[in-house]
């Protein structure tokens, strides 16, 4: 923790960056995102198991004046997000200083994104048994049961779009839900509208979701919407051997193809 504060201090004091994005003590014993712009504030920075928010989401908010250099406290999901965003030309290496945090809470120095890419690929990237179990549970249901299950879940959604705002990959400046010519997603938060929104969300994140689960964490109603993208990630990994957040150069799973992609349903 001290190392982290130390690092932040020096970055700010010798003006390598103008702002450090990290975590600080929040209310009710929660950690919350912190935006440190001067060395003397750096001591409010913390890092522990409560610091779970995917801070990468702040990197695409275009709120900062141009040429502001940012340092970001990057847990593993944040690193993956950064790689994905970089592969989608959303980040400029020269303006972002990544303060990596290893699984055992030590600082990691990265000289560039490629360095992060290397680090990520050394880690265990497989889905956890817990994740698998959640998916299997739903896969095991009958079609009717699945339908009922999700209808039920979606019926509670009231379209606050917290899932959208919390996701680093949802960075469109004008989201499809904001269109009405044509009205791709029905506006009201009734079953159909919610259903269409969540399918859109999942499909737009298909193969791009890095699995930080921020969406369901952000959801005030705790809808398990992270399962939608997780399911697709698993499927895409199985079918095309691609997973998001692991490569700066590899083409996105859905903007490429192999002639011998195996499907079973096309007549």
């Amino acid at each position: 923790m001290d190392k982290l504060r130390q690092k932040a201090k020096e970055l700010l004091s010798n003006n390598e960056v103008q702002i450090v994005v990290g975590y600080e003590e929040g209310t009710a014993g929660k950690a919350r995102p912190a935006f440190i712009s001067s060395p003397d504030q750096a001591d409010t920075l913390i890092y522990d198991e409560r610091c779970i928010h995917n801070l990468a989401v702040y990197l695409t908010q275009h709120k900062l004046p141009n040429n502001t250099k940012i340092a970001i406290v990057a847990s593993f999901p944040v690193m993956k997000s950064i790689i994905t965003l970089a592969s989608e030309k959303q980040l400029d290496e020269n303006f972002i200083n990544v303060i990596g945090i290893s699984k055992d809470n030590n600082l990691i120095e990265f000289k560039d994104f490629a360095d992060i890419e290397r680090y990520i690929n050394q880690q265990d990237l497989s889905f956890t048994p817990e994740e698998q179990a959640l998916i299997d549970k739903i896969d095991a249901m009958s079609m009717e049961e699945r339908w009922e299950y999700w209808q039920n879940e979606f019926s509670r959604c009231f379209k606050c779009y917290a899932c959208r705002s919390a996701c680093p990959m949802c960075y469109c400046t004008l989201c499809i839900t904001d269109f009405n010519q044509p009205q791709w997603v029905s506006v009201p938060s009734h079953k159909l509208g919610n259903f269409e929104w969540h399918i859109n969300r999942a499909m737009h994140l298909a193969g791009r979701c890095i699995g930080c689960d921020e969406c369901s964490r952000a959801c005030p109603l705790d809808l398990p919407i992270n399962l939608l993208t997780k399911k697709l990630s698993m499927d895409i990994q199985k079918q095309f051997g691609y997973s998001a957040g692991q490569s700066l150069t590899e083409p996105y799973a859905l903007s490429t193809y192999k002639p011998d992609d195996k499907e079973t349903f096309i007549r």
Partner: protein, 148 residues
């Protein structure tokens, strides 16, 4: 009581399946009138949302058809489409949408008879499945909400 006549929308590519359906016509091969065709330049153009919209507007079944692999007029549109359908289908299935109501097929410009066969088998299949009430229920709730 008269038999249930499903509503089926076909999204087809201009170069293979649309031409194939033309050939069905020129060969005077009869098929079920339940299917109505919307023409696209390529299966690669077909947006997954259109399928949802079709269901939302009351379709009981959907056909998506384009060129056989390697025959795409744009060389790779159908390959990209194929990948997307693989993913989208997984999504729908995971959400409990009845994927048996969606027929994906490759029908070339020379396969007039095959088009008729695809249409008829699809329509028969949907007849067995009956009207897509689940989706209707979800949609009707919309109108309720809208009306107050």
């Amino acid at each position: 009581m008269n038999e249930f006549e499903p509503k089926v929308v076909a999204f087809v590519c201009n170069w293979c399946t649309y031409a194939g359906a033309d050939l069905t016509g020129t060969s005077r091969i009869k098929y079920a009138p339940n299917v109505k065709i919307i023409r696209f330049p390529c299966t690669g153009r077909i947006d997954f949302m259109l399928i949802l919209k079709a269901f939302a507007k009351g379709a009981d079944g959907i056909i998506i058809s384009g060129c056989h692999p390697n025959d795409c007029h744009y060389t790779s549109g159908n390959f990209h489409a194929k990948r997307r359908w693989m993913v989208f289908r997984t999504m729908l299935d995971f959400l409990g949408v009845d994927v048996n109501r969606i027929t994906f097929s490759w029908v070339s410009a020379a396969e007039g008879a095959r088009w008729a066969e695809i249409v008829n088998t699809t329509v028969d299949g949907i007849k067995k499945l009956g009207p897509y009430d689940n989706y209707r229920k979800m949609v009707n709730e919309e109108t309720e909400v809208n009306n107050g």
